[in-house]
């Protein structure tokens, strides 16, 4: 701390890495060693990494079954150390040690996760091709009658993918944060929250039963709240944190009720048992199984809260008040996809209920459209990305709703890559622009931020479904899955196509407003603009490579057959969704259309994406004056979109004003005049006061007489007897030792007298 406060005025606004500052403080005569401090020195960082990796390797060799627990608990360990010794670590080397400790735990988790997934793949596959392991901590967590919850994890084809995404993207974002948060004095707290979040997210995806998943679910919600409100002295940030927390609670009520009902129906909450119990239902019992729809819808309400779907989507855009790496990790790549993960995980359950599937698909489509349309006009760079995330999450639910669970999860994975990339890129831009988030004040950053520009371009192309990047493949897969189910499928397909066009448009609008044209910011900002430090650029580069390559894992069959590229991803996750896919024909009865149609649809989606990109280029690169004219000529629509369909205002009016205040007044009146009843003074009534009057006037007074004259009478009588007797005995006990001795003497003489009568 001493070193920090002493050099701060001297180094002023220098943008260098934190460790570079530290030597500046040693000359001030406080007896500090010339090094950057024990925990900040690179050797300690290296040693920590070697120790962590060594311990992980030993664990992997000796006790492979405990490794999933190690993956889970390492970030918790990091959090514990930072939370308990954070102050001590911060005093050393300006907290660089804390940053690298946090990165080290997550990186080690990632390494162990890779090893574990490799090991699981080596397992002999069962009949279904599912390879899984259920490490068990050796004790029962809850045992209450028939309700039993084990402390076990589930590592299978699906959770492997999720764990890899969470730890992989998570560690990149940890590294990025080292650079991004280098100016923040509260870095240690930030990294401890980030580690805690990673722990809870891993618990969510690894938990072997719904209650464990729920613990992770609530935990990530908590960390989301803490990190959104990380700069809690800013009122908007604190409010956004509260909003996220409260909106999530609404969804969580659904999740809890769904869990209770699921336990009633299936007698278990273990994920594996749940799916096998659901699939073993016979066809007759199945269609009479109304409650299963209720279970699915209640669980989906929880997913809506966490994954920001209509009507609970309002918290996600506000969540952008948090630090940008947090937006990337929690509000784009991992936490918000928890709902999709859960729905996909319980796909076998959902595919038993056509109603639930329809609801999921409709809500997903509606959210995709809503998010995409709002993103068209937003000017805050992070708000555009936030609404894009809302829209893409809607796309994932759309996929689940039409039974394309594998495609949904594939989208989840690739989205984690390119959306994290885009958020981190926008963070890099904001960092360079000294906190500016309004794209109207940017422009022309291409030459000043070369790497940020390149990587963000990759992200934009990936999300805009240009082949052969990730976006193209999953969009083709999802849209085809929607189209082929018949019924309302083609409508969903049409909506999805429109969303794809809008996505391409708003992403390239963002790109052009930020990187093309001329710089529109202030002199001060222009002077400051600089490429971000290495710790920030490296994760961008890795994520860009990931965004390019990830798509090749999931090439749809129709193209893969031609190009001889297998759909690795679908083949890998298929066993998890097999139960769900088997039940689907009962839900979607239409015969699949011909392959030529699939090709045509794919071409349509490419064309429309190209159209969106070209339109954005025309409007924001070539004729920058046109958008303003369009906005003024379609002013009502523009305002509607800019103000996000007034959803927040409606909620404010209906729920906060209407329900909370109006309802409060009504309830007050009911309370005052019906429940209280009577005026409590003279007039008897039926309410509380009336009964109170009756009790006071009749019951209490009668009881008073009985008490005073009968009960007290007996008590006083007893007391009087003893009181009077006491006058006799009191005189004996006067406290004078001589009198006591005299009584003793008299009694002794008396006894001797009696004794001698017998003896003599």
């Amino acid at each position: 701390m001493v070193a920090h406060s002493n050099h701060e005025p001297a180094s002023g606004h220098d943008e260098g890495a934190p460790a570079a500052h530290a030597p500046a403080g040693h000359g001030t005569g406080h007896g500090h060693p010339p090094e950057a401090g024990f925990a900040g020195s690179p050797w300690v960082v290296l040693l920590t990494f070697i120790l962590l990796f060594g311990a992980g390797g030993w664990l992997l060799r000796s006790f492979p079954d405990t490794v999933p627990f190690a993956i889970l608990l390492l970030p918790l360990l990091g959090f514990t150390v930072l939370a308990l010794f954070g102050d001590a670590i911060r005093d050393q080397g300006e907290g660089a040690g804390a940053c690298w400790l946090a990165c080290g735990t997550v990186l080690t988790s990632f390494a162990l996760a890779v090893a574990t997934v490799y090991r699981v793949m080596q397992f002999p596959a069962g009949d279904t091709g599912l390879r899984f392991t259920q490490p068990y901590l050796g004790f029962e967590w809850i045992a209450a009658g028939p309700f039993r919850v084990q402390m076990n994890l589930l590592v299978d084809n699906l959770s492997s993918v999720m764990v890899l995404v969470v730890t992989g993207v998570g560690s990149l974002i940890h590294i990025y944060s080292v650079g991004y948060m280098s100016h923040d004095p509260d870095r240690v707290r930030y990294f401890s929250y980030l580690n805690l979040f990673t722990f809870f997210m891993l618990l969510l995806v690894l938990g072997g039963n719904l209650p464990l998943l729920f613990v992770g679910w609530e935990g990530v919600g908590l960390c989301s709240y803490l990190l959104i409100g990380f700069w809690f002295t800013k009122k908007s940030a604190a409010d956004a944190g509260k909003k996220a927390f409260i909106v999530n609670r609404i969804g969580d009520v659904g999740l809890i009720l769904g869990m209770i009902l699921a336990f009633n129906l299936f007698g278990t909450l273990d994920l594996v048992d749940l799916v096998s119990n659901a699939t073993s239902l016979t066809e007759e019992s199945l269609w009479q199984f109304g409650p299963i729809t209720t279970v699915c819808l209640l669980l989906f309400l929880g997913a809506c809260g966490k994954s920001a779907q209509i009507p609970l989507h309002v918290w996600l855009p506000d969540a952008m008040e948090g630090p940008t790496p947090v937006s990337a990790l929690i509000h784009a790549a991992t936490m918000v996809t928890a709902g999709v993960y859960m729905v996909a995980r319980l796909g076998a359950l959902y595919s038993l209920s056509p109603t639930a599937m329809t609801v999921v698909a409709v809500i997903g489509t509606a959210t995709a459209v809503l998010g995409a349309t709002i993103a068209l006009v937003q000017t805050d760079i992070k708000k555009v990305l936030a609404y894009s995330t809302v829209s893409q999450l809607g796309y994932m639910f759309l996929a689940c709703g039409v039974g394309a669970f594998a495609a949904g999860v594939f989208h989840l994975m690739t989205h984690a890559f390119f959306k994290a990339l885009l958020f981190l890129g926008s963070g890099s831009v904001i960092h360079a622009m000294s906190g500016e988030q309004d794209m109207r004040n940017m422009g022309g950053l291409r030459s000043k931020l070369p790497w940020t520009h390149r990587t963000m371009l990759v992200g934009c192309i990936a999300i805009a479904s240009v082949p052969p990047l990730a976006g193209f493949f999953w969009k083709a897969e999802i849209l085809w899955s929607a189209y082929k189910i018949g019924g309302w499928g083609p409508y969903v397909w049409g909506m999805g196509l429109a969303v794809a066009a809008m996505t391409a448009f708003y992403m390239f609008r963002l790109y052009h407003m930020t990187f093309s044209g001329t710089f529109r910011g202030t002199e001060e900002q222009a002077h400051h603009v600089h490429e971000s430090p290495r710790t920030m650029v490296l994760p961008l580069q890795v994520l860009a490579v990931g965004s390019i390559l990830a798509g090749l894992l999931g090439v749809p069959a129709i193209l893969g057959d031609v190009l001889h590229i297998p759909n690795v991803f679908e083949r890998f996750t298929e066993p998890v969704f097999e139960a769900a896919h088997e039940a689907l024909p009962q839900v979607f009865t239409a015969a699949p259309p011909a392959h030529t149609i699939e090709m045509a649809l794919m071409a349509a989606s490419v064309t429309i994406a190209a159209f969106g990109i070209a339109l954005a280029w025309q409007l924001f690169q070539r004729h920058p004056e046109v958008p303003a004219r369009i906005a003024s000529s379609a002013a009502p629509v523009y305002r509607l979109l800019l103000d996000k369909y007034y959803v927040d205002e409606i909620y404010q009016a209906v729920f906060v004003r209407g329900l909370a205040l109006g309802g409060g007044k009504t309830l007050h009146a009911v309370d005052r005049y019906v429940v209280d009843g009577g005026d409590g003074e003279v007039r008897p009534g039926l309410g509380v006061n009336g009964i109170g009057w009756f009790v006071r006037e009749v019951v209490a007074k009668g009881s008073d007489v009985w008490d005073r004259y009968v009960v007290d009478g007996l008590v006083n009588l007893t007391a009087a007897i003893f009181d009077n007797m006491s006058y006799v005995f009191r005189s004996l006990q006067n406290g004078l030792v001589q009198h006591y001795a005299l009584s003793m003497l008299i009694i002794i003489l008396f006894m001797i007298g009696i004794g001698s009568r017998f003896i003599l």
């Binding site: 006990q733 006067n734 406290g735 004078l736 030792v737 001589q738 006591y740 001795a741 005299l742 003497l745």
Partner: protein
Amino acid sequence: MSPTLIQHALLLSLALFAIGVVGVFLRRNVITVFMCIELMLNAGNLAFIAFSRAWGNLEGQVLVFFVLTVAAAEAAVGLAIIISIHRHKDTLDVDAFNLMKW
């Protein structure tokens, strides 16, 4: 030892003891009461010695030493109590010491 002598010794012991008892009950000064207790103890001692002499063994005399020892200890404790009471009450009148009641 002649029967007369032991009779005399016992009568003296009885007289001393009676004086002690009367003193303990009637005197109002704590120090005097305390001295009367010592008197009673010494009356007991005299009786022991007389009997020891009469029976021709030493056990009575041994017992006297024990009594003397205990008396010394008792004197120490008793005087300490008296001092502490005096500090508390500023008087040595036994009638002032009436704390031993409910």
